[in-house]
């Protein structure tokens, strides 16, 4: 089917929607809603809304439409590219869309699926799934859902929701809007792979209910959307070829694609996601290992060997360069409680953090191959940290999060002296065969440049984050120029300028490195077909030319 029809939702009175009016009041009492983890300065907002349900959301859409104001959607505001930082108009905070609505077993796919509202966080979803206890579900659910819930509780398996962008306070809606991925995407792929249905409110206040597997693009890349009055809008999808890496740059487009994929990763350009049905995966036993190695070259050899080991598929393989380890070690000395780990070895030149299948109760596990492989790379299993209990895995997860938090803290301090300063964190990825080439390119530019930097990230997907830590505005300018060079090189290798952070407001400048002017125009055409007045998320991804108040030019 290539056509989808919108649904009407009951509309609440606009006056009944909880709101904060005026920038002064928002700054005084609700300032966090003007920012996200990017620390990008906001450009003001006239309203901050807290809708309770779709009916109130629809009332906001229609009123903002009448007033000609833009709408910026705010989820958990954990994004790194300023996607939810307002550029005028209204901010719609989705905080109250925080309920689980159902759970069911899908016979055809053999998977458990959870239906939840957009503001449910990844941490809560996984916690509730693990405990098989969803707050309030039994009082909201109908009999069929209750029966399914009972069946879920009786299922002896343990389940979880695999997308893990490290920041588990991220909301489901936000992670769908950005197609979040993170370390575990090496095994489980990005968020897109786990989304089974979406409800999206358009600027008209009408809703698209999109299950996966029902609405597909034509071979010549078109969809048709029919509103409740019967008006038909044809979308012509962009004609570019998607990169061979994990990617969040630009809209998803491919012949015959599922319509749901257009909305996943669209960064809220077309509407507001209200409900999401996700698939769960079964837990497996594993061991997390932080392997210390003598150098970054040894670490690259280790990664390539680990990926080539056919018998295993690590959930993730993460990289820390020598500067990242030093930064963490210094932080350990300064604030021992911040990182609940032993001191990082002084002689470590790099570290690889990975996990592989491991059964704690297995009396004779055979990992001779791993020992040999590690030794071939100049390292030893003795010089590693490992854990397989759930509390260990949580501890290791915290360790993984400690570095970006430390980097953000440093930049936050420096911003006090140079308010215009910000972190420069690359999000480039290249195909598998290019790992060593891109690393050598990075090093050739970084060595001797006089910039402070750390490198860490998802090396399994050839996707390390080079975090340049500018000390002043000169460093920032130098770093930006270097970033553009890195981006051009990644595209030369058929990679992407944004593998997981998205584009938002901060990485727009890199889109022309990856897409031609024609491709950018094709994306704008899709945006205007679904959001004709460019109401949603002004300034994100594309520079739309509109007369709406608050629309970034």
């Amino acid at each position: 089917m290539h056509e989808i029809t919108c649904q009407k939702v009951p509309e609440a009175a606009f006056d009944s929607v909880r709101r904060v009016e005026g920038l002064e009041e928002i700054i005084a009492n609700y300032a966090p809603y003007l920012a996200d983890e990017s620390r990008l300065p906001h450009q003001g907002a006239d309203f901050l809304f807290f809708p309770n349900n779709e009916a109130e959301l629809a009332a906001i859409m229609r009123e903002m439409g009448k007033r000609g104001l833009t709408v910026t959607t705010a989820g958990a505001r954990t994004g790194l590219v300023g996607g939810s930082v307002p550029a005028g108009g209204a901010v719609v905070a989705m905080d109250r869309f925080d309920k689980t609505l159902g759970i069911r077993f899908d016979e055809e796919s053999g998977e458990w699926r959870v239906l939840a509202e957009a503001a449910v966080t990844l941490r809560d979803l996984n916690d509730w799934t693990n405990k098989k206890s969803f707050p309030g579900l039994t009082s909201r659910a109908d009999e069929a859902t209750l029966a399914q819930f009972e069946k879920f509780k009786e299922d002896p398996g343990s389940y979880f929701y695999p997308p893990d962008p490290t920041e588990m306070s991220a909301s489901l809606g936000g992670t769908v809007a950005t197609n979040a991925s993170g370390a575990a995407s090496y095994k489980y792929k990005a968020t897109r792979n786990w989304i089974r249905r979406l409800r999206v409110m358009l600027a008209s206040g009408e809703v698209l209910d999109i299950p996966r597997g029902k609405y597909f693009a034509t071979d010549d890349l078109t969809f048709t959307v029919i509103d409740t009055a019967g008006n038909r809008t044809q979308l012509k999808l962009p004609t570019y070829i998607m990169p061979e890496t994990k990617n969040t740059a630009g809209l998803f487009a491919a012949p015959g694609m599922d319509m749901i994929d257009l909305f996943i990763g669209s960064e809220g350009l077309f509407g507001v996601i209200t409900e999401i049905e996700v698939a769960l995966a079964q837990q497996h036993e594993s061991v997390s290992v932080v392997q210390f190695l003598p150098s970054d070259e040894a670490a690259l050899d280790f990664v390539i060997a680990l990926r080539e080991e056919a018998a295993i598929r690590p959930e993730f393989i993460e990289f820390y360069d020598v500067n990242a380890l030093k930064l963490l070690r210094d932080r350990q000395v300064e604030t021992p409680s911040f990182i609940d780990m032993p001191p990082i070895p002084e002689d470590a030149g790099a570290a690889i953090f990975y996990d592989i299948a491991f059964t704690g109760a297995d009396p004779k596990p055979d990992y001779a191959w791993l020992r040999e492989m590690t030794e071939r790379c100049g390292a030893s299993l003795d010089n590693s940290w490992a854990g397989y209990e759930r509390r260990d895995l949580a501890r290791f997860r915290h360790f993984r999060h400690a570095l970006p938090e430390t980097v953000n803290g440093i930049i936050g301090e420096r911003k006090k002296t140079y308010p215009g300063l910000h972190k420069l964190g690359t999000d480039l990825a290249v195909p598998d065969g290019c790992l060593k080439d891109i690393w050598h390119f990075y090093r050739s530019k970084l060595d001797g440049a006089g910039l402070e930097y750390v490198v860490f990230g998802h090396i399994a997907n050839n996707h390390v984050h080079i975090n340049l830590l500018p000390r002043d505005m000169d460093d920032l300018a130098k770093g930006l120029a270097m970033y553009v060079e890195f981006a051009k090189k990644a595209i030369e290798m058929h990679g992407t300028v944004s593998a997981e952070h998205g584009i938002g407001k901060m990485k727009k400048k890199f889109l022309p490195v990856m897409f031609t002017p024609q491709h950018l125009e094709e994306m704008k055409a899709v945006k205007l077909a679904l959001d004709p007045a460019a109401m949603f998320n002004p300034g994100d991804i594309l520079d739309m030319e509109t007369n709406r108040e608050g629309a970034a030019q």
Partner: protein
């Protein structure tokens, strides 16, 4: 010198909820772990071993077959060998029956110089088994230890008291119960985890002990848990919507008048 560390596997209690109707623990999705205080006891045993080459660390637990994973954690940390004492006859044992069973088990070992136990287990919180064990074995004991130092056939113990710390010493054999120690929990290397699988875990049952069945488990228990219940939950406070400050202020004022606070 042989150091025996007596340990217990417990549910990760931060995640356990009590069913208010049945008074039973809801263990769905709750992991079993080595009791943290037993882990601190292992830390002190390893400190001794690090400075005294002839120290052999034996760990012992009484519990269901799956309690071998608590022993495995000790072997990964550096214990030399382990003993699992498991039997359906032990089910329902209170602190007395547990201490008696362990004491009889210790008699089977060929001499123990020092017994280390955690201050208490985080599931039962009784802190009784260690002191009872010392009494049954008729050896001296020092409680709440945070540091140990061997001095020939004596051990110097840094212990926590209500006012701070004190150092006391006793002749061996003796028993030491261990309080919270190092801030950072030991992280094992993958090599240590793999090597632990090659170490000995000896399984023993009630038949291996010189005890009558009437002294084991529920039958041998002097006390019985009648009921488990969570503390009374206070009514939640009232939250006023601060979105409309003048309205909220009026509500607060009305409430204060209503309750005769003003």
């Amino acid at each position: 010198m042989r150091v025996l560390v007596c340990v217990k596997q417990v549910p990760e209690v931060t995640n356990v909820q009590v069913n208010p109707e049945t008074g039973t623990l809801n263990r769905d999705g709750v992991a079993s772990i080595l009791n943290p205080f037993c882990e601190y006891a292992m830390d002190l045993a390893l400190d001794l071993k690090a400075t005294n080459e002839d120290v052999e660390i034996v760990v012992l637990t009484m519990g269901p077959p799956q309690a071998r994973m608590a022993l495995m954690r000790c072997l990964e940390m550096g214990a030399d060998r382990a003993i699992l004492v498991t039997d359906r006859k032990f089910a329902g044992a209170d602190t007395w029956a547990t201490a008696l069973t362990i004491a009889k088990m210790v008699e089977k070992l060929d001499g123990v110089d020092l017994v280390l136990v955690g201050k208490h287990a985080i599931d039962g919180d009784t802190a009784q088994v260690g002191p009872m064990l010392a009494e049954i074995m008729n050896i001296p004991q020092i409680t709440y230890a945070v540091g140990l130092e061997l001095d020939g056939r004596r051990i110097r113990v840094r212990r926590e008291n209500e006012g701070g710390y004190e150092t006391v010493q006793m002749r061996l054999p003796g028993l030491v119960s261990v309080n919270k120690g190092a801030a950072t929990r030991k992280v094992c290397s993958f090599q240590e985890i793999l090597e632990a699988r090659g170490k000995e875990i000896l399984t023993m049952t009630g038949d291996d002990l010189d005890l009558d069945d009437s002294e084991l488990g529920l039958q041998g228990s002097l006390t019985q848990v009648v009921k488990v219940f969570p503390p009374t939950v206070k009514e939640p406070g009232r939250v006023l919507d601060g979105g409309n400050a003048p309205m909220a202020a009026k509500e607060v004022a009305a409430l204060l008048h209503e309750k005769h606070f003003v």
